[in-house]
Subunit: 298 residues, 2 copies
Amino acid sequence: MGFRTRILGAAAGGGLPQWNCGCGNCRRARAGAIAAQTQSSLAVTANGRDWAILNASPDIRVQLAACPALAPTGPREVPLRAVLVTNGDIDHVAGLLTLREMQPFKLYATAGIHEVIAANPIFAALKSDMVRREAVALEAAFEIVPGLRATLFPVPGKVPLYLEGEVVETRAMGEQTVGVRLDAGGLTAFYVPGCAALTGALAARVEGADLVFFDGTLWTDDEMIRLGLGRKTGGRMGHMAMSGPEGSIAAFAPLRIGRKVFVHMNNTNPVLDPGSPERAEAEAAGWIIGQDGMEITP
Amino acid sequence: MGFRTRILGAAAGGGLPQWNCGCGNCRRARAGAIAAQTQSSLAVTANGRDWAILNASPDIRVQLAACPALAPTGPREVPLRAVLVTNGDIDHVAGLLTLREMQPFKLYATAGIHEVIAANPIFAALKSDMVRREAVALEAAFEIVPGLRATLFPVPGKVPLYLEGEVVETRAMGEQTVGVRLDAGGLTAFYVPGCAALTGALAARVEGADLVFFDGTLWTDDEMIRLGLGRKTGGRMGHMAMSGPEGSIAAFAPLRIGRKVFVHMNNTNPVLDPGSPERAEAEAAGWIIGQDGMEITP
């Protein structure tokens, strides 16, 4: 007995199509030529009855409506027991506002991320007598849902964009950006939707895992700039690219991992187009390109 | 030359289906037996090129993806020029977080509502050099998009749920809950998605309008309580019901209005089911039940 995972949303912030984007992928998604993808979220369960959601995306309402396993089982009964957020980015916390309907669950995050959320009065919509906010220490395993243990650990990253000051540390290690280790029935998975670099320590941590979901934001570090859609590199945004000698595909190549799945793809990433050579290259390197609704069991 | 309106979302907060709701309407919507509806928002234009959105719902990404008239016209060009919010409720402001992608537009609201938004650091995602926040005085007309004038006016209502204290004034008149009058080419429309009572002054204001969109949250004041889904009346939530001697259908009956459209329907409202006797009753009284994607021109 292990656990089940379901990708609720495979895209990065903005989704595919992104509301204001006329790039090739967004135009093809609007035309129905490639599959639309909602924003970054993963659902997990060990027993099939009690679910946790890792990251609450702005698209959570449509994501849940498309997921029969998470549909209400009574007038106000749902299988959702816990929500965990891995950073304070809008694509990972805005969906909490949708979960406001007087429904009890536990909200797990580091103390640092809880502070970011609590600084906003609007999140009082999650009433304290309904939603218990649990501060989780780094490296301390806890049972997120029955039969499934979770452990948070720091990964190189940065504060949310809306909190950036004049100087931004893009590879900070601390409570602002974390990954999640999941353990059940002797199987191990990792969920790391945002990561600026695969450090040696991080590589050693994931080595031997049965399943890894990893940051697939960009194909190349300067993708947004070359397309004329932004002024920032992936590194500046706190994300390592997939391709190139410094990329995640190269970094993971020597590691023994059961299955490797890219998630959190930006709308500009060519791998979102099933016909692209980049998609073929990533798949040839042993990666699965995550898709909305995909269920992957380690 | 008048103007065009498009209902982006016809449902109240939570939408249809609501994520945690197993009521009859939500079950039927999940099964595809009745149409799903997204949350409260109206798009308006006078020239067909420059659009304003009245209320930014959490569903705005899927709403815009379903609306060709608002699709990007270039890599980062969109026809959206302005967003106006009529209160600080989550179903009306959370979508602002989705509009964060470095896109210029004007954000119109009363000073009181701007204060509610600005108290949340997360809305700094709308960068001040991109999104100009314009405080609009009550009763002062302004050009919201070329050729279309808008005027805000107070309607009986309350502060957002997440700001409620121990004592709540549910029919307060001020800057926290407003309606919008729209004027173009000699035609007049009103948009009032939340309203606790049709006062004499409000009735006199809308008298003779070509088009009115009005608060259709509940069919009966005790609807949530009777269904076992809540402890609050419509009145307590700041919404007048459709039916009964105190309801909006009765209140509007003596008024001369070109077209009357209910919007902001809660998922429990029986009019959302096209086969319901309540729907027939509302339509017999001259009301249109708003639906996602419906375009209505005064």
